[in-house]
């Protein structure tokens, strides 16, 4: 049963990502990116990493996709304007990177994720916060740059679309 669920969510993630690159309309592309993120969040839920799954939804869909949509709608091309070039190259590179990451992850998983203290769903909240905010505080701060990356990415996307149109 988890196999079926895994393949379903993986298919949603990959199809969403492909549509995000390939769709003619930037708005559809942004929404496909959101669907892809939702697939990733579901995969996290499947891995019993509910905390990451919930924040994947809140941060990536609730903030990053909305930032992209917002930028696209405010400064992007008008509705129905033609697509840009380089879609096939981008698709090829995307598939290549995804395959590399997938293979790398599959090779690394048995050894990389075996910890002495598995954080089960009954994991202590205080202990979890301790590890997140004390042990990994620097990494957390670096991760928060994702918003800056999203703003810059969305602006670049919208600007280049307008420039070529």
């Amino acid at each position: 049963m988890p196999d079926i669920a895994f393949f379903g969510f993986a298919a949603v993630t990959v199809l969403g990502a492909i549509l995000a690159l390939e769709s003619r309309d930037l708005v559809y592309g942004a929404v496909s990116l959101g669907v892809s993120f939702l697939g990733v969040a579901s995969l996290f839920f499947l891995l019993d990493a509910a905390y990451i799954g919930v924040f994947q939804i809140a941060v990536y869909i609730g903030a990053v996709v909305i930032l992209i949509l917002f930028t696209v709608m405010l400064v992007g091309p008008a509705k129905g304007e033609g697509p840009t070039e380089f879609r096939r190259t981008a698709l090829f590179i995307g598939i290549l990177v995804a395959m590399m990451l997938g293979v790398g992850g599959a090779l690394a998983s048995p050894s990389a994720f075996s910890t002495n203290q598995p954080c089960t769903p009954e994991c202590d909240l205080a202990q979890f916060s301790q590890s997140l905010l004390v042990t990994y505080s620097v990494q957390l701060a670096v991760l928060s740059l994702v918003f800056a990356a999203a703003v810059i990415g969305a602006l670049t996307l919208a600007k280049s679309e307008r420039g070529t149109a």
Partner: protein, 346 residues
């Protein structure tokens, strides 16, 4: 891979008679959500009318027109589905329906009593708030897809408003998590079960509305803004942008869009009663489920009373209040909670 099912009829019957199926389909799931939403629409119209010295719905049924919203529902179902010619058809249809489904999904996370809950997640509270963050995307898409001026303005206003008020909403809910030590909604209610003794054996319920008074007020204000109810109904503002993002919606789709906001009213009232009013806790003779219902009705009636009483704020006032005062007060609330939780230990 799953085994082939040997007895399909027996299997289906087994599923349909299981408690989970009853919960999802009847209560607290889909059927009850539909009926409660219709009753909420009636309550909204009736309370607003009484405050303004009007009568409100009157004729449909002897009980003060309580069947009026069911009659409206039937009327909407038979209206023509008129989609504007240059609209983006996919998102125009999908956005309000998805908003309604997403709102109904929020109700599934609420524990009405420990038994009457569809999905008991360990991270119930952040899951609820995370699914709330999906709604500005749907509303923006709904406004954009109509390809018309007023809906688009309404969609952008909704985006500004909801993203500005999400952060104080999360921060004000953190106070409750700090006091309860858990993000599970049942755990949060159980943490409120111990009454506080004031003096001479006189005790009050240990509900978080007392230590978290500031947090509860912030949560109430930001939740009202997230629901886009008056005084924060800028995305719909009838006199300015004629219903905003809902302007172009026909019959059934308008019903979905309007229903979505009432589902959220229901879900947020229930969440408020769980976080701050002790959920199903209450003196014994009244059953637990009825306590939950009473608290939900009180909270939602308060939100409806705001609609009847206050004028709409301007967009600049709204955003300034959200990003400065509410955010600052939310951080202050966290500091106060920290002192309340850690103070006694020092």
């Amino acid at each position: 891979m799953a085994d082939p099912i040997s007895d399909p009829i027996g299997f289906s019957l087994e599923i349909m008679t299981s408690p989970l199926f009853f919960k999802v389909a009847v209560f607290p799931g889909l059927t009850s959500i539909g009926i409660i939403i219709a009753l909420f629409i009636w309550l909204d119209r009736k309370i607003t009318a009484r405050v303004q010295l009007r009568v409100g719905p009157l004729y449909a049924s002897p009980l003060g027109g309580v069947l009026q919203s069911f009659a409206d529902l039937i009327k909407f179902a038979f209206k023509e589905l008129f989609i504007p010619r240059n609209a983006d058809k996919f998102f125009f249809v999908a956005a309000p329906v998805l908003a309604l489904i997403g709102g109904a999904g929020l109700v599934g996370l609420i524990p009405f009593t420990p038994e009457w809950q569809i999905s008991n997640l360990e991270l119930g509270l952040p899951a609820f708030l995370a699914f709330v963050t999906l709604s500005p995307m749907l509303i923006l898409l709904a406004g954009w897809s109509a390809n018309s001026k007023y809906p688009f303005i309404g969609g952008l206003r909704s985006l500004f408003q909801q993203t500005a008020y999400e952060i104080p909403l999360w921060l004000s809910a953190i106070g409750v998590v700090m006091m309860a030590g858990t993000m599970n909604l049942i755990g949060i209610v159980q943490a409120q079960s111990k009454p506080w003794v004031i003096f001479l054996g006189l005790s009050i319920p240990g509900w978080y509305i007392i230590p978290q008074a500031l947090g509860a007020l912030l949560f109430f204000i930001t939740a009202t803004a997230e629901m886009e109810r008056i005084p924060f109904d800028l995305p719909e503002a009838e006199p300015e942008i004629i219903m905003g993002w809902q302007a172009e919606y026909p019959g059934f789709l308008f019903m979905s869009a309007a229903g979505a906001s009432f589902v959220r009213l229901y879900a947020f009232s229930a969440l408020f009663s769980v976080l701050y009013l002790g959920g199903w806790m209450g003196p014994a003779p009244v059953p637990a489920l009825l306590w939950t219902a009473i608290k939900i009705i009180i909270v939602s009636s308060l939100i409806i009373l705001l609609r009847a009483t206050f004028p709409r704020v301007r967009i600049d006032q709204l955003l300034r209040a959200g990003w400065t005062y509410l955010l600052g007060l939310a951080f202050l609330n966290i500091v106060i909670t920290y002192l309340l939780v850690v103070g006694p230990r020092i």
